[in-house]
């Protein structure tokens, strides 16, 4: 109860129970026939060597691919196994991963539960509460797997989902990020290994080349008149070269080591940071645009006898026509050209996005 290892113990207990069941099933079957003959169409592998079996997570009844095509191509339909009244869809059929169907089902249930109940230890104030939570999750899982109180359990799950929507999403994002991080780390390590290997190969090749060169030089020196002196010179050069090579190698190794630590650390550290927790800017409905008009303000009402007819016309009003919009447009257009000069350049990048007169430039020209 006090260690977080508890749930994995229970889950492994459940799995071992499932394994025991599987063994029993296999004994009952008594043969590998089940994998040879489709239980629906009874066609055997002898006749169709490429036969593949599929299951649907709705009821886990096994059938061959051609049966699936035959029965479910026209849309959802009832499971062909006698006594099973589940409606299945072709899309949901998939290949069985585990030999035992019970295990397959348990894994599915666990996957589903893990998606919803994805709280972490850091979400809880104390270990005890986390353990309680884990036990709760395990109970739910157990109930689903063994069909105990299905309705109540489902209600529990959906209630949990409803009340923890935000945290579930957050934790899912976190998990995705961690996976990405691990992947990045793996990629990085692979790259490092590759570079180290390359360097090593290069070093070996260089040594070999130097040796050959040294031998050639030595032979040439031996042919010379004062052989002793020349040989000494060549040997000295070779020693110098090899020490230089060694130095080079050491330097490179150091570089590699440094690269493995410093920049990688930087880049991985960045990755590990939670997704840009930059402060949410206050909502700006207009995205930086200014809607105030420089030269005028709209009044709520404009007196105009010419508009009385429109105001009194029932059909115009019912169509959604707004006299106010006309008045605003009239004011707007009256001021459109104000403050806009032909010699000024029209809209350009550095003018702030304010909406004084959108038609001003067009009208001014």
């Amino acid at each position: 109860m006090s260690t977080p290892a508890m749930p994995s113990l229970t889950s492994s207990a459940a799995t071992s129970a499932a394994i025991a069941r599987a063994r029993e099933n296999a004994i009952n079957r008594g043969s590998v026939d089940a994998d040879e003959i489709c239980p629906v169409c009874k066609s055997s592998r002898y006749l169709n060597p490429n036969m593949r079996f599929l299951v649907n997570p709705e009821c886990y009844h096994k059938m061959c691919e051609s049966c699936v095509d035959r029965i479910f191509s026209q849309g959802p339909s009832q499971c062909p196994v006698v006594g099973c009244d589940k409606i299945l869809r072709k899309q949901k059929f998939r290949k069985q991963t585990f030999e035992d169907i019970q295990v397959e089902r348990e894994v599915d249930v666990r996957k589903r539960i893990a998606k919803t109940f994805n709280k972490r230890q850091e979400d809880f104030p104390s270990l005890k509460e986390f353990n309680d939570y884990l036990e709760e999750v395990e109970t739910v899982t157990f109930n689903l797997i063994n069909s105990v109180d299905i309705a109540a359990t489902e209600a529990k799950i959906s209630a949990f989902e409803q009340s923890n929507k935000a945290t579930i999403l957050q934790n899912a994002a976190k998990a995705a990020q961690e996976a990405q991080f691990v992947q990045a780390q793996r990629d990085f390590e692979r790259e490092q290994h590759r570079r180290a290997r390359e360097l090593e190969e290069e070093a070996v090749a260089e040594e070999k080349r130097d040796k050959l060169e040294h031998r050639a030089n030595l032979l040439k020196a031996l042919q010379a008149d004062d052989a002793d002196f020349e040989v000494a010179k060549v040997n000295k050069m070779a020693r110098k070269k090899s020490s230089m090579r060694k130095e080079n190698q050491e330097r490179r190794a150091k570089e590699l080591e440094a690269a493995r630590n410093a920049p990688a650390f930087q880049f991985l550290a960045n990755l590990n940071k939670p997704i840009s927790e930059e402060p949410q800017k206050p909502y700006d409905p207009l995205d930086g645009y200014d809607e105030t008009n420089k030269y005028f303000v709209y009044r709520d009402k404009y007196e105009n006898p010419w508009l009385e007819d429109a105001l009194n016309s029932k059909s115009m009003m019912a169509g959604g026509y707004l006299v106010q919009q006309y008045c605003e447009r009239a004011v707007f257009e009256a001021f459109s050209g104000v403050g806009c000069f032909i010699e000024d350049p029209p809209l350009s990048d550095d003018t702030s996005p304010s909406f004084d007169t959108p038609m001003a430039d067009a009208i001014a020209t």
């Binding site: 995205d287 645009y289 059909s315 019912a318 959604g320 350049p345 038609m359 067009a362």
Partner: protein, 442 residues
């Protein structure tokens, strides 16, 4: 500012080397700002300092301006692909409408700017409009030239081709909202929907602020840039509004998104029609299928009555005075639907949450006068609540621009193979030994 800066930058080279080609290829505007061509002309000719320049007189010549604008653009993608394939991608058609063909093109790279993909919309010379241009083209040019907003497609330039076809140079946008809605591999979160609604409302607000009705809002016309920004497009049915006593046609807006007052043949309507359409797009984003897919006008109207309620004098004062007022199943009182309350929408659109449903209900009210305006919609609390709207760059995308991928697939093709194996549905010839190609053709 920018245009005067760029023209002054060209001047020294022009005076010193007297090289007219340099002058010709350099654009007036910087291309990024959608500067109306006509405005630029005047700026360049009138505000210029080099009055004494000999070829200055040409600048005012409309033909010359046209050639210059034309020279800024070319068909096909930028020549980043291998030359061998340039012929394949040269005339890539992006789409063809009733009155225009849209081709992919790019703005030629200049000394300062790299090549930018654009869509060149060539207006067809239609037999129907022998006396002039089609209305749609005129409307599109007329309104797009005036509307500059990040959520409205930018009209970069206009020029005429050699046989006097009108070509509009538009921003290149590679997908639209319909593709996103139909792509079942994508899951759209409420934050994504919120972000798209926010961007389309901002675009619509800008249109309405300039007194332009879009009149064809549908997912198909809400385009998405490669950076995820949504832009209103297709202003072929747009119209300026608010003139009293000037009837407008009620035969606009794609049927599935048409508001009830237009079915009733209202000749005087307002910005509320666009709001209704956008409200239905909102529903579609949540349902991933059209909310009211009527297969005829009558059926459509029945669907509206079913979903929103039957229009009556109570919920829509004056509705019976509209020319086409009609109530389906008028004799059957049981079939009449009261205007739907909040619980109905809460049931259907539970994902939107309470404040989202509030916004939706304000947008698709039966009575156009009760609908909110775009500006009011932007102020609803839904946008400032959690989950916050997704940043455009993080919005789900349709396979990173399928179009380009398709072009690229030419390059993956192995030598000597006639068809792409992926295109070849039957996969025939897959196992047939390839005929060896020893060069020669290439």
């Amino acid at each position: 500012m920018s245009s005067s800066a760029s023209s002054s930058a060209t001047r020294p080279s022009n005076a010193a080397a007297a090289a007219p080609p340099t002058r010709r290829t350099l654009p007036f505007g910087n291309g990024h700002t959608p500067v109306p061509a006509s405005v630029v002309e005047i700026d360049d000719g009138g505000g210029g300092l080099s009055k004494d320049n000999s070829d200055d007189s040409d600048i005012d010549d409309p033909d010359d301006i046209n050639t210059k604008t034309k020279r800024k653009y070319t068909k096909g993608t930028a020549p980043c692909y291998h030359r061998r394939f340039s012929s394949l991608i040269k005339n890539r058609k992006l789409g063809e409408g009733a009155y225009a063909v849209v081709n992919l093109g790019h703005r030629r790279a200049t000394a300062t700017d790299s090549a930018v993909p654009v869509a060149i919309k060539k207006i067809k010379v239609n037999t129907e409009f022998r006396d002039g241009l089609s209305m749609d083209a005129i409307r599109e040019v007329k309104y797009l030239r005036e509307l500059h907003h990040p959520n409205i497609i930018a009209l970069l330039d206009v020029f005429s081709s050699k046989n006097q076809n009108l070509c509009l140079v538009l921003e290149f946008l590679d997908s639209d909202l319909e593709m996103i809605i139909k792509d079942s591999s994508l899951t759209l979160s409420m934050a994504d929907v919120k972000s798209w609604m926010l961007m389309s409302l901002r675009g619509l607000w800008w249109c309405h602020k300039a007194f332009v009705l879009h009149r064809d809002i549908k997912p198909n016309n809400l385009l998405l840039s490669s950076t995820g920004v949504l832009k209103l497009a297709d202003f072929g049915l747009a119209r300026s509004f608010a003139d009293p006593y000037r009837p407008m046609t009620s035969n606009v807006i794609t049927r599935w998104y048409r508001p009830p007052e237009l079915f009733y043949g209202a000749k005087f309507y307002s910005s509320a029609v666009d709001i209704f359409s956008l409200g239905l797009v909102f529903c579609e984003l949540m349902l991933r299928t059209p909310f009211l897919p009527g297969n005829s006008d009558l059926h459509q109207f029945e669907l509206i009555c079913q979903a929103l309620g039957t229009p009556t004098e109570e919920n829509w004062p004056g509705v019976s005075s509209l020319p086409g007022y009609y109530v389906p199943h008028v004799d059957n009182a049981a079939a009449m639907v009261k205007e739907r309350g909040k619980d109905f929408f809460m049931n259907t659109f539970i994902a939107a949450g309470e404040s989202g449903v509030d916004l939706l209900m304000k947008m698709i009210r039966l009575d156009p006068r009760k609908r909110c305006t775009a500006r009011e919609a932007l102020d609803v609390p839904w946008f400032s609540q959690e989950p916050y709207p997704t940043k455009p760059a993080n919005l789900p995308k349709k396979g990173g621009g399928k179009g380009i991928e398709k072009v690229g697939s030419d390059l993956k093709r192995k030598a000597g193979e006639l068809f792409n194996s992926t295109d070849d549905a039957s996969g025939r010839g897959k196992k047939v030994a390839r005929k060896l190609d020893f060069g020669g053709g290439g």
